[in-house]
Symmetry: C2
Subunit: 974 residues, 2 copies
């Protein structure tokens, strides 16, 4: 009946007349009352409840509405919908009826007063004077069908088209108690029962220590009062209407909290399908613009005086002033759901784990600083007596130079290239393994606390709904093939996707190629600039060549990385859309995979170049390697490339974090606010005021939609890469990551609490693909660190020298040993220095860093035996390091149980308690049944079920006497 | 009442008198009838059912009984127990009553006839004339308490002490329908519902291919008719009494099959505790000898004519004649439970996967055979013109020898040392990864088929019951500490376990030390025997030195391995018992861990020695390395050690399999049978006859108890080690493993079907720790194969020669290149050959296999540059091989989804169907309720729930008209 009214708005007005009249009366009365109540509070109530003030709004759908025409039809439908509520309140009695009346009236009043408000979000709205066109008509029809189906599913709806935001209609959805129960049962939600049990306390010394620790960390806990005492826990059980008596249903409004309610409604929305040309779910409806948005409501305003979870989160979590505290993860989960809760728990654990890593990193760095003066190789280099003449660093313009001029670099190199670094990279590999293990344990603990144990396949199903784009493509395909074959096409085959896959592969390779090209370009820039600057006549320029070139190149690299990061993000998304993955889960995974590869390649290619390729493809004096036949390949400075790697790493990491986080994430919003402030000065003060008076659902409509956790995780995983991958060359990385993350947590928290629409709570037991990526990064880190230590640093040559070649077993003579001889008469034609007397004397032999035979051997300039020996030791070190560290990680993995022991005990205890509970109940039921059957006897039945009777006086169950058991509430209520 | 009768047997006889009389009447009548029915069938019925012939025996407990005294009390209690059944059959009506009567009577008749049977299993029984002593009294008291508790839990018990096996009393346990339902609900068993759905068929070309394939493999399927058509599947749902209407309960006797029934009873047994000094569960009772055994019954006899699952399994599975067929895994699972089903499924998949591996292995071997004549190094060695004089192989007694005499060995070496081997070991690494992945998929598929999806923590709880030994130790501890402290001791601390842990560590190290010592002993045997034989004057002995020594050493090794295998198995068990692990699961894991380490070390130490140490610590001519200052370390023959590795491997593997499997597992039982046959000739034929007439539970009592799957898995995992670890040196390993496993499957099957008591069905989703061990072995295999290829084989030196040193890029000159020069004048005093003219000419320079500088260089006999170069390349190969293969394995892992696609689709479909089912039911209920509330209207309610109404004529649920819905059976039955 009501449906038809909406289909033909012109003809339905007559039919609707009685209701309409009723409405008018309600509205009038409401207006009266509204003037008497405090405005703020009512407004709040308004936003969060239906117009009867009783039914919570659990979900909002929005759609475009034609302003003029919509004004009438909207109002109409709103009335039609509320008719139900009226009927209900009539049944409830006169008091409730009056209340509803008042509310409705107020709504009418507000509606009319807000009519001249400015249009805010109707950019897509056509000419206001235009009448219904076919498109709009079609959309409205679909909406009506969909809403009809929702009502069939038992949801209650209320429409509101005359909002302050012109052009946007709202459908408010409420799930009544019955529906909530039904869905909770279907979703197998675990809910706390009335049964409370004591969590076993530790005993003896352990207890004292733990209580001491908890006292010490007390100020670090956020002021979020958990409602139940710590030592007691509610037994949880899958919700079931047949077992309703187990649960504390005294407050039916709060039994399911707002998060659960909205996810239940969302579950129904996903299940409901329109039968158009193809089956359309809510995702398709959103995708095709029939609805414009779908979101649950925030619990309240953060600036509001009354208490709500959002405000609490804002004060105790999304606040820089509490940066040193633990996060209120329980509350975060309660408000945002398990998936987001897990993200913040993970981020928190990661940040915590960074503390020991940065402490050790700083110690390693300080050790380097302290031992820099005892380092024999750098002492030898710096010693003025050691007058080694080195071969020129570039052709023609450069001349011979003295090794002692590289003193500063050699000393600086020692900071990052000392034995402590080897220890540190082993430490960090184990740290990563520990982190993984701890996360598994934390995850298990949270799973237990959040009653997720046992929930498994539901998670899969949650994401298994086909995406709108996929359904659309399938429909397109079946339409185009309809004539040829008769059987319905239900999926896309590989053939359909082949073009997209090809594009993907090509684009990915192209993008990676672009990265390589850019890195190569920067190399060329460095080589050519260096050559050019060397040729400069200005001595100041020439003396600062190294510094200028390195810094500018690093900055160019950074800028390129930052730009490409954004570009690659967009490209990855575009490629994934091209692929048309079937489900949201698959879409997410493919997107993550592509983004991960591109961003990783982007961030780490320049670094990998410096670590493993730079200075290796140089050739030797007399036969250098040339790029484009004119540029000699770069060499590293004397201390090895580790120093340069360190500079590049720190600039990339710090730059990325500072610019991406602080500039983009903090700066841009601040700037926007500033602009808004400047505007509001000249503009109108009422804009702000109007904002305040917005309904909750209107206010939330202004917020950004939640776009998934992918960017947050991605940022963190790349940071994890910086912390672990090249940690052998930059022990301060964990410290910088720690500092960044302390800000990051609160930044993300602020975003979720204040800037985003409330996300639908999603259940998740783990962080999914991210864990695998972390594991992958940690594994790659072991190999890369092995190579950095053995190939980039001078650790192995030093060891080899000390134990194989040193005459006295010390490092004395190491520098001399690493330098080969070159007879300057062997320079190629035109490559010899133009100023051979630069050092003030004639040079016959110059030295260069390589293991080659001297000019006087039978095979001059051939690779020497020492080279092979050092290479063999280097490779052996890689094998040993990799396998030992992997083995140690596996041992850590194996030693630390995945499930904390106390959780195992608790789970076991809960299981026993539950079985006990059910068995007692059972006994009770049988007693009742039998007391009805046989009317004799007064013996207490519950005794036979209690386990402490030692008198062996039990009865066979068949002849059990009747009794009043524990059976309290086994009647079935539907 | 009945309880008290048992507590005081002397006083209860009066009380029991009426029942006793009743019994006598029953028995008399039964005897009459029994004479008319075929004996066999009744006997079967007897064993499998209570004496009333109605109630199935679901579980058996046995205990020791005093023969004389027990005779009376036993009979009595048996009657007491059946009283219930009588009462029930009386209630059921006269017909059933008569039946019960007959059965009971027959039992009595049989009892009296079997009295003079010989005692078979009462070795532990004391003097038969002895009266009750305290110990026995105590045990009986405990039993009575325990049985009382079982009856409280709702189980029905029947005792039988006058069996053919004197001294053994049987408690037969039956779980009535109510109890089964209750426990199924508690255990969250998934049962098939009435709802059947069609499994989607493949379409198009894929369908045709799959149907073709299934036609081809049709004869490979066992003749086990699955009851339902293949394309349909029953929807499963967790059993719940409230949802009883979902299930097909038409045949309540068969709804829960015998496996489920026995596991339900076992679950109750585990949960029931006696309150003695300490809480005693069934494990404690068994441990302390209060009960002697606990087992469920087999379904019937294998030689019986009537149909039963055991017979079917015996015919279609435990039979060598069907070795080429698939296993009837579904039936195995139905009979033995999921855990054993998974073992056989795993074994089957492993065997299947060995087929391609052995095919490729044989091809690789044949490739070696085919190319042996094209192999340049062996050609060069065999060429008579190449007259290289080699240094003597031992001091003094040996003389110089010509390289061409090593021709045969060089040719044989090529069979296993060719480039195809490298390919094969990469192939096998990927094969192992594929095997893992396929197993994961198979496991998922079985999980789905067996309705295990969603079952998770139950598995843990199943094994979480403390072991009897643990409880005993805790009790001991609390008794000893009772005086000091008051709080109850509930667990063993680390301190209590420290001695056991220390013993463990020491013993493990000792055992590993023993293995090493034995390997070293064998080396010494080889060296000394070789030296002794060389000194022998008999030329025949001298010519066969190599062969004699190698073969005897390998056989000694094999024998030692076989003996130590048994010893280590016992030691590991003893050590684990010492540790007193808390739960069965923990016991099993610790035992497996220890056994695995010891057996692996035992099996692979000699092989690892040959692969990586032999021939490397030899020294060089003029400065050999000596053991005990007189024995020179062993060298390998010229073709490298790969040949010897291959011999050792094949002897160990084949010997282990042939002797352990065929001799121990097949031979010993056959021998026993033979002995029994010889005995029966002289003894008595009636022994056999008597066996046949045994009750089912008596017959099963004679079988071996089931001792876990650990030995079976362990055998297979060590075989897996042989197949993967050194596969680079022995490509035929998979073939031998395949041949062994084809026998192994049927052998194990026979054991389970005919020789073991039926194990309690245990639910398991996976093969647990074994999967991790397999993974570990596969990972280690990658590294070991990398080392075998690069260090044991000559692959790398050949490559290095070909690409770095060869003048023409071919292998010509390789043999010469690998041999260093030695000036015979540099021999140490007294070590030079006694017969320097053995070859007929004076030798000035001899050659030896090593990369060292020639005597004329500036650093004679120093390690040469080539050595380092080859070493570097070898190490580089290891790094590349390991990482590439691991990466490829990871890619295989990632490419093959863990869950097969069709299973995902099915799970999803089932979920949707279930939700639909419940929603429809829901709608039905609402309709009924409302039709009761408002008595008007006849509109059909089901229409609003069906989803195909396009007329948009839906009603709000609040005003839904009444109707007769789909609601069929929503009344609650308890």
């Amino acid at each position: 009946m009501t449906e038809e009214a909406e289909v033909s708005p012109t003809s339905s007005s007559d039919q609707q007349a009685p209701h309409f009249l009723q409405d008018v009366i309600f509205h009038g009365k409401f207006k009266l009352l509204k003037a008497l109540t405090p405005e703020e509070n009512t407004l709040c109530q308004h936003g969060l409840y239906f117009q009867d003030g009783q039914r919570r709004v659990d979900y909002i759908l929005t759609y475009h509405v034609k302003k003029l025409a919509g004004g009438r039809s909207g109002r109409q439908s709103s009335h039609v919908l509320t008719e139900n509520a009226v009927a209900r309140s009539l049944r409830r009695g006169p008091q409730s009826f009056g209340e509803h009346f008042r509310l409705h009236q107020a709504q009418r009043a507000r509606n009319s007063s807000s009519l001249p408000s400015s249009p805010v979000a109707d950019v897509e709205l056509g000419c206001p004077g235009e009448t219904f066109n076919g498109q709009e008509d079609h959309k409205m029809f679909r909406r009506k069908e969909f809403e009809g189906k929702l009502r069939d599913m038992g949801l209650e709806l209320e429409k509101d088209e005359d909002t302050k935001i012109a052009g946007v209609g709202f459908v408010k959805i409420h799930a009544p108690w019955n529906i909530l129960c039904r869905e909770a049962e279907l979703m197998k939600l675990k809910m706390p029962t009335k049964k409370v049990y004591e969590v076993k306390q530790l005993s003896g010394v352990v207890e004292k220590i733990s209580s001491l620790v908890s006292k010490v960390v007390e100020p670090l806990h956020p002021h979020v009062d958990e409602h139940q005492p710590k030592n007691f826990k509610h037994l949880s059980h899958t919700f079931s209407r047949e077992k309703q008596h187990l649960f504390d249903l005294s407050d039916k409004d709060d039994f399911f909290d707002s998060r659960t309610r909205s996810s239940i409604v969302f579950e129904i929305l996903k299940r409901t399908k329109c039968k158009a040309k193809y089956s359309m779910g809510i995702t398709s409806l959103l995708g095709s613009g029939i609805y414009t948005a779908a979101y649950p409501l925030h619990d309240g305003d953060i600036n509001q005086e009354s208490f709500n979870d959002r405000k609490l989160l804002n004060d105790e979590w999304a606040n820089y002033s509490v940066f040193y505290k633990y996060q209120p993860i329980g509350l975060v989960r309660k408000y945002f759901g398990e998936k987001i809760g897990l993200y913040f728990a993970w981020l928190g654990l990661y940040t915590q784990m960074l503390i020991p890593a940065s402490v050790v990193g700083v110690i390693v760095f300080l050790y380097g600083c302290a031992t820099v003066d005892d380092n024999i190789p750098s002492m030898e280099i710096c010693h003025p007596k050691n007058n080694i003449t080195m071969c020129p660093l570039c052709d023609k313009v450069c001349s011979y130079w003295k090794l002692s001029t590289a003193c500063a670099t050699a000393r600086a190199s020692h900071l990052f290239d000392n034995p402590a670094t080897v220890f540190f990279s082993i430490f960090m590999a184990l740290w990563a393994a520990m982190f993984m293990e701890h996360w598994k344990r934390r995850q298990m603990r949270l799973n237990h606390e959040w009653d997720l144990t046992g929930f498994e396949d539901e998670e899969e199903a949650l994401k298994d709904h086909p995406r709108a784009e996929y359904e659309f493509r399938v429909m397109q395909k079946s339409l185009s093939k309809d004539k040829k074959s008769h059987h319905k096409i239900e999926k896309l085959t590989c053939q359909d996707r082949l073009p997209a896959y090809m594009t993907n592969v090509v684009m990915m390779l192209l993008m990676i190629g672009v990265t390589f090209a850019i890195v190569f370009g920067v190399i060329l820039y460095r080589i050519s600039t260096k050559a050019a600057l060397h040729m400069s006549s200005n001595p100041v320029t020439r003396s600062h060549v190294q510094l200028t070139v390195k810094t500018t190149a690093a900055i160019i690299n950074l800028v390129v990385i930052l730009i490409l990061d954004e570009v690659y993000g967009a490209v990855a998304r575009w490629l994934t859309v091209l692929e048309v993955p079937k489900t949201d889960k698959s879409f997410e995974e493919r997107l993550i995979f592509k983004t991960f590869i591109l961003k990783f390649v982007n961030a780490f290619t320049p670094i990998i170049y410096i670590a493993f390729f730079r200075g290796r493809l140089v050739g030797r004096p007399g036969s250098y390697l040339y790029v484009f036949e004119s540029y000699r390949m770069e060499e590293c400075t004397h201390g090895g490339c580790l120093m340069e790697l360190c500079i590049q790493l720190s600039i990339t990491m710090l730059g990325k974090q500072l610019i991406q986080n602080n500039l983009f994430e903090i700066g841009v919003p601040k700037l926007k606010k500033l602009i808004r402030y400047i505007r509001s000065k000249q503009g109108a003060f009422q804009e702000e005021e109007r904002q305040k008076k917005l309904q909750r659902y209107e206010a939330d409509h202004f917020l950004e939609p939640f776009a998934g956790l992918t960017p947050e995780y991605m940022e963190m995983i790349i940071q994890f890469g910086f912390v672990t991958l090249f940690v052998a060359s930059f022990p301060l990385a964990p410290l910088f990551a720690l500092l960044n993350n302390i800000i990051e947590i609160r930044l993300d928290a602020k975003k979720f609490v204040t800037e985003l629409r409330r996300p639908v709570a999603a259940r998740a037991k783990d962080i999914g693909i991210w864990y695998n990526l972390l594991r992958g990064v940690a594994n790659v880190a072991v190999i890369i660190n092995a190579f950095v230590i053995s190939f980039t640093s001078d650790f192995i040559p030093r060891m080899v020298y000390q134990y194989m070649y040193s005459p006295d077993g010390s490092m004395h003579g190491f520098v001399n040993n690493t330098l080969s001889y070159f007879n300057v008469s062997h320079f190629q034609e035109g490559k010899e220095p133009m100023d051979p007397l630069y050092l003030g004397y004639t040079v016959e032999m110059c030295r260069y860093k390589d293991y080659r035979e001297p000019p006087w051997s039978t095979t001059p300039y051939e690779i020497s035996k020492e080279f092979w020996a050092v290479l063999a030791v280097r490779l052996a070190f890689v094998i040993v390091f990799q396998n030992v560290v992997m083995l140690m990680s596996d041992i850590v993995d194996w030693l630390i149980p995945d499930i904390p022991k106390d959780i195992i005990l608790q789970i076991h205890k809960e299981k026993i308690l539950l079985v006990d509970l059910f068995l007692k109940e059972e006994q009770g039921k049988i007693c009742v049944l039998e007391s009805r059957a046989s009317t004799g006897g007064k013996e207490n039945c519950s005794r036979s079920s209690s386990s402490n009777n030692n008198n062996n006086n039990n009865n066979n169950s068949t002849t059990a006497p009747p009794g009043s058991g524990l059976h309290t509430n086994s009647t079935k209520s539907l």
